[in-house]
């Protein structure tokens, strides 16, 4: 028997600042949740008309399609530098960059670190799924020790590939950032925590406080070769052992 929703209160719907476009992400991929959280944040802060999103290279290359706000698609790794240029040119804009682990913590190492070190008044969303999704599941800078990828077929060997880099911890050593946090999405409580963190990271920018970074432990069920639910468990039980959750800097 269908329920008559007309008599009921809508308590959850698509954020207004997101478009109707369907995501190009694989089933169960957390990129979609993160996009929804950012859209909801833009709604709640009422900033859609002055927000510019920066889409990276990688699975989220199409990020500009999802938001009803201006956007710039940029070269791999350079999002924090482009964000710097945009924000300095028009400080009244709210600028967020959306970057994967390869983008933010490998090819964009210098740009990421120095934008943070200058304390650019921007919001960086750093999606850490420990793998290069779009190119076929190669090793990322955050790939776990012994994790198999298409370029570490026998598992990541620290002797030749180094260790998973905790980039947020590196950024947390800097004096300038006002907010550096690591969040996850493997259950509803983490999703709610992450939502608060993202909102805070945007609010800091609105308030002119400076650089905020939200690292989000994400899944890649396709390239991890796990079901979406198994991937969630993997984040909860294994990934968080290497990348502990919580605030690293909070000078807000």
């Amino acid at each position: 028997m269908p329920v008559d929703v007309a008599r009921m209160t809508k308590v959850f719907e698509r954020p207004k600042s997101l478009t109707e476009a369907r995501y190009t992400y694989c089933p169960g991929c957390h990129h979609g949740i993160i996009t929804r959280i950012i859209g909801q944040t833009i709604d709640e802060l009422g900033i859609a008309e002055r927000t510019v999103g920066i889409a990276p290279v990688g699975c989220s290359v199409f990020a500009y399609l999802w938001y009803r706000c201006d956007a710039v698609q940029v070269a791999h790794g350079r999002a924090s530098a482009v964000a710097t240029g945009l924000k300095r040119a028009k400080p009244e804009l709210i600028v967020f960059s959306y970057q994967g682990d390869g983008d933010f913590a490998s090819i964009g190492t210098a740009e990421s670190l120095h934008a943070a070190n200058r304390g650019e008044n921007i919001t960086v969303i750093f999606v850490n799924n420990q793998i290069y999704g779009m190119t076929g599941g190669e090793m990322a800078p955050t790939t776990l020790v012994h994790q198999k990828t298409t370029t570490t077929p026998d598992g990541r060997d620290p002797a030749t590939c180094g260790y998973p880099i905790r980039f947020s911890e590196i950024i947390a050593t800097l004096d300038a950032p006002v907010y550096v946090t690591r969040q996850a999405l493997y259950d509803t409580r983490r999703i709610q925590d992450c939502t608060r963190a993202v909102k805070k990271a945007f609010q800091n920018q609105v308030d002119g406080k400076g650089y905020s970074l939200v690292e989000i432990l994400s899944t890649c069920p396709t390239n991890w070769r796990m079901s979406p639910t198994k991937a969630n468990e993997h984040v909860a039980n294994v990934v968080t052992q290497v990348f502990p959750l919580g605030d690293l800097v909070d000078r807000g």
Partner: protein
């Protein structure tokens, strides 16, 4: 009339950029363009404008990409090895139809090379450098006063065509002092609006800046739009200078610093009774093929002189198309030809 000041080429380009309304400047130190960066460091902040010493050339050009997206006049500068690093960003800027000015104070190469004057980046500047079917407008000043004029023009052309524009200078031009009348400053607020810029989607659909499309047919269309723009630029923006060409039997083809040195050689040759002229491309992209071909129709020889192994020479030969002899004289590695060196070459070929 503006005051005549004795100024260094690098400082003149910087100050002309400020007066052209450059709001954001990003760069990384490298000789021989350090004075340009330093002038911007001293002057941009006090005007309430943005100066950032970027962590790298790569970061600097991407900051330019961001500022250009936001619709402000923006510039970066470097010298050869640094320009190589910027090539990724320049390709994106071209592909995304963004206006920006890039200054290359060319030094000896390849690799680390040296910091002496050279013109060895002509191919990089005019034939691509970065990936993809794109061009930059490339302006090659020959004197310090002209560097000021072309810097102003660079910003105007960049905005008009939404394209990167390069000022192709060299260590000689960057380091020398010459009297200049600087252009009057313009008010950035008076510049035409850029409705395509990402300034916040107020009362309009979102603006998206991008250089890609995964669909070949769509990307082909984007490329065709670029090519249409390049045809317009070729039709309207070719600039060159001819000196003593009308009765010449031999014409020297040279650009930038080399052209002014060649100008002295032309005077010396004329004093000896040799009928020598000078053809100087001011835009090296688009190259003045037709104008040079017209010259080639009434001379026996077009002698290309460059501080390179013969890069512009290829364009000269395309233009001349065997209507005249096309000998070449070049110096490399930061060696600058003197007027006497050029005169000696002229004597070899002049009747």
């Amino acid at each position: 009339m503006a005051e005549r000041q004795l100024l260094r080429g690098n400082e003149v380009i910087a100050e002309a950029a400020i007066r052209a309304g450059c709001q954001c400047y990003f760069a990384y130190p490298i000789t021989p363009q350090a004075e340009l960066l330093e002038h911007m460091a001293r002057n941009m902040p006090r005007l309430g404008r943005t100066f950032i010493q970027a962590e790298s050339e790569v970061a600097a050009i991407n900051m330019v990409y961001g500022a250009a997206s936001a619709g402000v006049r923006t510039m970066t500068s470097s010298s050869s090895p640094g320009i190589s690093l910027k090539m990724e960003g320049i390709s994106y800027i071209a592909g995304s139809n963004l206006p920006a000015v890039i200054v290359n104070v060319v030094r000896g190469g390849p690799g680390l090379g040296n910091i002496a004057p050279s013109q060895c980046d002509y191919f990089q500047a005019t034939k691509g450098g970065g990936h993809g079917d794109y061009h930059m407008i490339v302006l090659a000043p020959s004197t310090v006063p002209e560097a000021a004029v072309l810097t102003t023009l660079a910003f105007d052309l960049a905005d008009l065509y939404r394209t990167p524009v390069m000022i192709l200078a060299d260590g000689l031009l960057g380091q020398m002092l010459e009297p200049v009348e600087l252009p009057d400053p313009i008010d950035p607020a008076s510049l035409p609006r850029k409705p395509w810029a990402t300034t916040g989607a107020v009362g309009r659909d979102p603006n998206i800046i991008l250089s890609f499309d995964l669909g070949p047919e769509n990307l082909k269309r984007m490329n065709e739009t670029l090519q249409t723009k390049y045809r317009e630029i070729r039709a309207r923006e070719i600039r060159y200078e001819e000196t003593d060409v009308a009765d010449a039997d031999l014409v020297i083809a040279a650009y930038g610093s080399t052209a002014r040195i060649a100008k002295s050689a032309v005077r010396m040759a004329r004093a000896e009774g040799l009928k020598v002229g000078l053809f100087r491309p001011i835009t090296v992209w688009p190259f003045p093929y037709d104008a040079l071909r017209a010259v080639a129709d009434h001379v026996s020889t077009v002698l290309t002189v460059e501080m390179s192994a013969g890069q512009m020479w290829e364009d000269v030969r395309l233009a001349v198309a065997e209507r005249a002899a096309t000998p070449f004289y070049g110096e490399m590695g930061g060696v600058v030809p003197t007027p006497r060196n050029i005169l000696d070459e002229v004597r070899k070929h002049a009747r």
